[in-house]
Subunit: 206 residues, 2 copies
């Protein structure tokens, strides 16, 4: 049913179908035919709109990362309170947004993350996103603690968020978003509390 202006519609259809396919059988067994069947179109259309399978995969990852950034940005812009605590809380909430954490997006995210180790283009996208998260966190922590502590706090919280995602993506029942948010916020509380009343030196690991 060729109508004019199909391009944006088809592109979105195919990106959604890609996530559905990866969620269903994993990236390794996601073929162009399976994606096309999910979208209700023929296989050839993928090369037509995305230049090939790789182009579609790249566009899909790009969308996931964009959505994630968007979920964070929305919450940060809606803050009434400008405190570091509020900003970091919004970052946590955004990272555990329903639309990101539930359904196909989560498994697709992990699949791409693993795949990005050896695909330069995906690695680039991953890196840009990572750096933004880290530098945002670092900037906010920096407002209440010295540089070295802020760096560690940012790295620790980033690792915690990713770790919760990772474990959630693997759990058959999916991520328990409420629990994940609770653990992340509790960790954040502890980071602030620890700065408030620095303990004695127990950091002899290195």
């Amino acid at each position: 049913m060729p109508k004019v202006g199909m391009e944006p519609i088809r592109r979105q259809q195919l990106i959604n179908a890609t996530m559905a396919a990866i969620d269903e059988v994993g990236l390794a067994e996601t073929t162009v035919m399976r994606i096309a069947r999910h979208a209700g179109v023929s296989a050839g259309i993928i090369s037509h709109y995305f230049g090939g399978k790789d182009g579609l995969l790249e566009a899909t990852m790009r969308q996931i990362l964009t959505d994630l950034s968007g979920a964070v940005a929305v919450r940060r812009n809606a803050l009434e309170d400008d405190s570091p605590r509020a900003h970091i809380g919004a970052i946590i909430e955004g990272n555990f947004d329903r639309t990101q954490v539930t359904g196909p997006a989560a498994k697709t995210w992990l699949a791409f993350w693993a795949s990005s180790m050896h695909k330069p283009m995906l690695q680039r996208l991953q890196n840009v996103n990572d750096r933004r998260l880290y530098s945002n966190l670092c900037h906010q922590f920096r407002r209440v603690m010295p540089r070295a502590e802020a760096r560690n706090a940012a790295r620790g919280l980033a690792a915690m968020i990713d770790g919760l995602w990772l474990r959630g993506a693997l759990t058959p029942e999916g991520l328990d978003a409420a629990e994940a948010r609770f653990l992340a916020h509790t960790y954040l509380d502890q980071l602030f509390a620890h700065y408030g009343c620095p303990k004695t030196e127990s950091n002899t690991y290195s």
Copy 2:
């Protein structure tokens, strides 16, 4: 050069070659020919010793998980101090063991982890390992805090460990083991400190 008793030697050679190949080009582009070339043998031998490519991949994941458990067990058995703190510290140290964190093992671990989402056999191995880590942590935390807190502490620390691994596997320079251990130990300190002097109720997330 057929000698008798080649089986254990070849099996180990092929498992090592598999990790090297995955480290080099990723799981998706790891073919039996590439593995065989790494090991200096022919492709057919893989089916002979492992029944096929899948058998070799399963054996490789099994070895990685075994090595990881071993690294933890060695440290726990060597403890002079039987405190919860010492046990959990040993678990952290074992999880960031040099042989695990450096080189091909780390990337192979992440590749398998992602792959285990859709391969029942790998998922089973993953689950067994996960449960052991969680129940060990939980049991130790349980010695110094109520059940609910112990559960949360165990989940938080497990997420932190996995998150640090995940980020380390993706960083081109590899995981900074010293920093990872520092962050994990600091988090552990905070968990204990937080229990020692429970803050006011700031847990209104759920």
